[in-house]
């Protein structure tokens, strides 16, 4: 995935696209936009950093998982198997990007109980396990882009095959000098940013 920081306007359509596609519980954000302020008035501004799981090629979360709940598909997508996850959260400690979430308690958006939508969406999840962005692999397997990609109002998100040097994502990374978050850790994220 390539995220274009020049295009991103911090509108959080991606954050909610992820909720709408995956039905994640309260306080769980597989996709979100981090924001911070830079500069001094009047040259100050806010900068926006959209984040998802980086699907690192050398994923530290996978290494530390004692049960094999975290695994990597052939296409590089790092997925979580809730049946195998014992909720030890070693992966959350290992992840340098803070994009993993532990679902400790069954909570709903309206305190009194689940909406029909949450009832439907929560069937996939298990309390006491760790969850994370899976690049909407069910969509990807159908030939569709992840939900956060298709919805982005400014088309700031690109999805494709990094191994194919002719793909749009590969070309963007070369043409616009794409970088990874915390490259120095050598986890080799599959998410690149361009400016």
């Amino acid at each position: 995935m390539v995220l274009d920081l020049k295009r991103c306007i911090g509108c959080n359509a991606c954050t909610i696209a992820c909720k709408a596609e995956n039905g994640t519980p309260p306080s769980v954000f597989w996709a979100r936009v981090l924001e911070k302020e830079v500069g001094k008035y009047p040259l100050a501004k806010r900068i926006f950093l959209p984040t998802v799981c980086n699907h690192c090629k050398d994923a530290p979360c996978k290494e530390v998982c004692p049960t094999g709940a975290t695994s990597q598909r052939e296409d590089g997508i790092v997925i979580q198997d809730y049946d195998k996850c014992i909720g030890c959260r070693a992966c959350m400690m290992a992840c340098p990007y803070g994009v993993r979430f532990y679902w400790g308690k069954k909570e709903y958006y309206f305190k009194d109980g689940p909406t029909p939508y949450e009832e439907y969406a929560y069937q996939k999840f298990q309390v006491g396990t760790v969850m994370k962005c899976n690049f909407c692999y069910e969509r990807v397997d159908k030939g569709l882009d992840p939900a956060c990609v298709i919805t982005c109002p400014t088309k700031a998100r690109y999805f494709g095959d990094l191994n194919d040097p002719t793909s749009e994502v590969s070309r963007l990374i070369i043409d616009r000098r794409g970088f990874q978050l915390r490259e120095e850790l050598a986890t080799d994220p599959s998410v690149y940013y361009i400016q």
Partner: protein
């Protein structure tokens, strides 16, 4: 597997097209319905409006649909005592009882004096249903207080006059230099937010320079090439200074455009009026050594400058007066007014003027057109005491460089279309096409009469609506000589206590009206004053015809003509009804069917044979289908809309999109008609003995200080300014738990923005609890110490700070800005009725 088991396992799995209503932009959506449950909303594939893209709000619609706090039954109050914080002690009643009560009251009022009914609301998808009902009933009181205290009052009259439409945008596909004045177009706000977001991003990537002028360092300001923090309410001074630099220092202006397409060459006499031909009364221009009517067939090169004598009267072209007038706005002087450095003012003026490439041409689809890739846009930043003059000043910058409805400039929302176009009005100036008028046009001015409506609309002959004046009219009806006392307030999906000015004052106003009925999805703040609340359907449970009006919410610029209808994708819960359907039932119950049907035929411009029979009863869907056939042709029907959501009727023509050089009517640079309209207002108000300021009815715009400007007595040393977030719409979305969660995690959304210098001066730290206080009221919030705000300003986002127990997700979140707003007449623009939104405040820990 036996048959009954196979039946239970059989799953419904469908995608149904509809139209979003989490804001008013009308994005095309499709809802994924599995076994009767909506499990996903996304943009409808390949539609010409928003493609598959959709914002946070639109995708969060599911959580509003399944909000357990939605009302499920009509309610009536049992506690006769009304007031903020007083429990109405609701009891559930049947729809029959509710409508019997309502219809009985309506009938009584209609027999006595229909004006005693006030119809209120702000439901864009059914904006036609409210005036239709009010019109058929016979009341002129259609009051849109749901948002229009700030919603475009000082924008729509100006765009009607200059772009021939309800709204306008920069032509992002070609624009190279865009100035945004107190607006975040392209950053998920405005009339076409998802489309504009992509166009803006594409333009920025292409190299368009973006300058954002705003007291707040918004999302838009953060992505701009240049953020110019400005003192609130001084935008007009800045723009007039830019115009001054262009006209008087740099000599950059589009003389050809001004001569051909505007009234700039019209001759003006010593009293400020047009000099007219004695016989035809047509305004004159000076051409080839003599005065000629503006539409003379032998015009060669009318003068923009000079002084001439016509029939013994000294006459000068409007342009010359305009140019002299703006000399009063030197960058040096304006710098002290706006706090923007002199050199910045000069530099931006030059950049803008040069970017306009005056004289250049472009070929589009084989047609050669002027190419003026520079535009300045504005919207709610003109919510000020002198907002109309601010809007006129801003559009004058586009006009002098010829960047109005030509490629690259500021273009109207579809002023010309397959079956409509602007008309030539009095004195050759433009009148928008009838079907684009969601409100009455600004030109020509309406005749001023004694007050008929609670908002004194009759005293505002060019305003689109006049909502804020309801307050003083209701509280002092003697003073304004209103010839009746309102008895029933019928509200549709709006919440005036949140969305107008100070709620305590608004409550006082509403308490003057004996009976208040609210159609709403939840028990709102306003409902503490209501007598009955009737539960309304979510937008995914109802039908609405043509929610995308071409003048307001249909993509401007090149592309295709498309038409939309919103349909229900799931059934409403029992007890919940779509309010337009209820209105239809009331109409027929009251025996108003024939008047209503005639009103539909007239206001929707239905064309034979596709009209309503006055003697028949129709469902809302039937009316929608007849409307579709009348608008688009007999071959269209509702089923097509239900299957496709959006229907494309053909490509747009170049002459529709860039209509300025193709249409006959001219646009004004000099507002002679305003001067005359003001005199009409003065005459009538003087006769009635009602004090009324008419000094803003002037032919050339000025900057005038808001009441807040340099009035810091009483320790009110700062201004409060409201700004928009990309993931909330008014107070309408605040009960949505996903959007609330976003705001809770957001560093600014629910906070009070305080500049670091102010914080230091007052000993306020990030996260401190603070009070913000104005002469109108006081709010409590949490301070966010920031560099992204003007040092004289505290910033408050959204319409937050709900207190109704019926909306528990929203309750107590964020800060209610409107509480701070004084709303007495000296804070309201007497031309556009915009309420001044930069109150003086003080901030302190508490």
């Amino acid at each position: 597997m036996n048959q009954s088991i196979s039946k239970t396992l059989e799953t419904e799995d469908r995608w149904i097209p509809s139209v979003c209503y989490m804001c008013n932009c009308g994005c095309q959506i499709r809802a994924h319905v599995v076994n009767g449950v909506v499990v996903k909303i996304e943009g409808n594939l390949d539609n010409p409006h928003n493609d598959i893209r959709l914002c946070a709000k639109g995708q969060a619609g599911i959580m509003s649909l399944y909000d357990p706090f939605r009302l499920k039954s009509p309610l009536k109050r049992t506690n006769p005592e009304k007031g903020i914080g007083v429990d109405p002690r609701w009891v559930e009643i049947s729809w029959d009882e509710a409508l019997d009560t309502l219809v009985e009251r309506l009938k009584k009022i209609q027999a006595e004096d229909p004006r005693k009914l006030i119809v209120a609301g702000l439901d864009f998808n059914h904006v036609i249903a409210e005036p239709l009902f009010a019109g058929a009933f016979g009341t002129p009181n259609f009051w849109k207080g749901g948002a229009d205290y700030f919603c475009g009052n000082a924008v729509h009259p100006v765009t009607f006059l200059t772009n021939g439409s309800f709204y306008s945008d920069p032509d992002f596909e070609l624009c190279n230099y865009s100035i945004m004045m107190g607006i975040q177009t392209g950053f998920m706000v405005g009339h076409n937010s998802v489309t504009e977001a992509l166009e803006m991003a594409d333009a920025r990537l292409r190299g368009m320079k973006l300058v954002v002028v705003d007291p707040i360092g918004t999302n838009g300001a953060s992505k701009a090439d240049e953020w110019l923090p400005i003192r609130p309410g001084t935008d007009a001074a800045l723009v007039l200074s830019w115009v001054n630099v262009l006209l008087n220092e740099l000599n950059i202006y589009d003389a050809t455009f001004l001569k051909k397409y505007t009234n700039a060459p019209y001759l003006i006499g010593p009293e400020g009026y047009y000099v007219r031909d004695a016989e035809t009364q047509k305004p004159l221009m000076w051409d080839e050594g003599k005065a000629k009517p503006y539409d003379a067939s032998d015009l060669n090169d009318p003068a923009l400058e000079g002084s001439y004598t016509v029939d013994g009267v000294e006459a000068r072209p409007a342009f010359e007066l305009f140019r002299e007038h703006v000399k009063g706005y030197s960058p040096e002087k304006v710098s002290t007014i706006t706090t923007i450095p002199t050199e910045t003012i000069r530099r931006i003026a030059r950049e803008f003027g040069e970017a306009a490439r005056i004289g250049s041409k472009i070929v589009i689809h084989g047609r050669e057109l002027p190419y003026r890739p520079a535009a300045i846009a504005w919207n709610k930043g003109s919510s000020h005491r002198h907002g109309m003059l601010m809007g006129l000043a801003i559009q004058s910058l586009n006009t002098v460089v010829g960047a109005m409805d030509v490629p690259g400039g500021q273009i109207g929302f579809n002023p010309k279309g397959p079956f409509w176009e602007p008309k030539v009005g009095p004195d050759g100036l433009m009148m928008p096409a009838d079907m684009l008028l969601l409100v009455e046009p600004a030109y020509p001015a309406r005749k001023v009469t004694p007050p008929q409506t609670v908002d004194l609309y009759q005293f505002l002959p060019v305003a689109p609506y006049a909502a804020p004046f309801i307050e003083d009219t209701m509280l002092d009806s003697q003073k304004f000589k209103l010839p009746y006392q309102p008895e029933l307030f019928l509200n549709f999906d709006s919440n005036p206590l949140m969305s107008t000015s100070n709620p305590e004052k608004m409550a006082e106003v509403l308490l003057k009206i004996p009976f208040l009925v609210d159609f709403n999805s939840h028990i709102t703040e306003t409902d503490e004053l209501a007598d009955m609340v009737l539960p309304t359907a979510h937008y995914l449970e109802r039908f609405s015809p043509f929610p995308n009006s071409p003048g307001a919410h249909l993509k401007p610029g090149l592309g295709v003509w498309y038409w939309t209808m919103s349909q229900s994708v799931v059934d409403s819960p029992p007890g919940v009804r779509s309010w337009p359907e209820v209105v239809l039932e009331m109409v027929y119950r009251m025996g108003m069917g024939s008047d209503f049907n005639i009103m539909v035929n007239t206001l929707l411009y239905l064309r034979e044979p596709h009209t309503l029979d006055p003697n028949k009863q129709y469902t809302y869907e039937e009316i929608g289908e007849i409307w579709a056939k009348s608008r688009l042709g007999a071959e269209y029907n509702l089923q097509q809309f239900k299957e496709q959501g959006c229907i494309v009727s053909g490509p747009k023509k170049v002459e529709d999109v860039y209509d300025r050089v193709y249409i006959k009517p001219k646009i004004p640079l000099y507002y002679e008609y305003l001067k005359r309209a003001g005199e009409d207002v003065k005459r009538v108000t003087t006769e009635l003995g009602i004090p009324w300021d008419t000094s803003d009815y002037q032919p050339i715009p000025d900057w005038k200080p808001c009441p807040s400007y340099e009035n810091s007595q009483g320790g009110y040393d700062l201004y409060a300014v409201n700004y928009k977030l990309p993931f909330h719409t008014f107070s309408y979305t605040t009960q949505n738990p996903w959007l609330n969660e976003l705001a809770e995690h957001h560093p600014y959304a629910y906070k009070v923005l305080v500049h670091s210098q102010v914080a230091k001066r007052k000993g306020i730290k990030d996260g401190d609890s603070v009070y913000v206080e104005s002469i109108a009221g006081k709010v409590k919030g949490v301070a966010k110490v920031t560099e992204c705000v003007h040092p004289e300003v505290v910033g408050i986002a959204g319409t937050f700070g709900n207190w109704a127990t019926g909306r528990p997700i929203a309750k107590g979140k964020g800060v209610h800005f409107n509480t701070l707003l004084p709303s007495t007449p000296e804070h309201i623009d007497t031309v556009s009725a915009a309420l001044d939104a930069c109150p003086r405040v003080k901030i302190y820990k508490g």
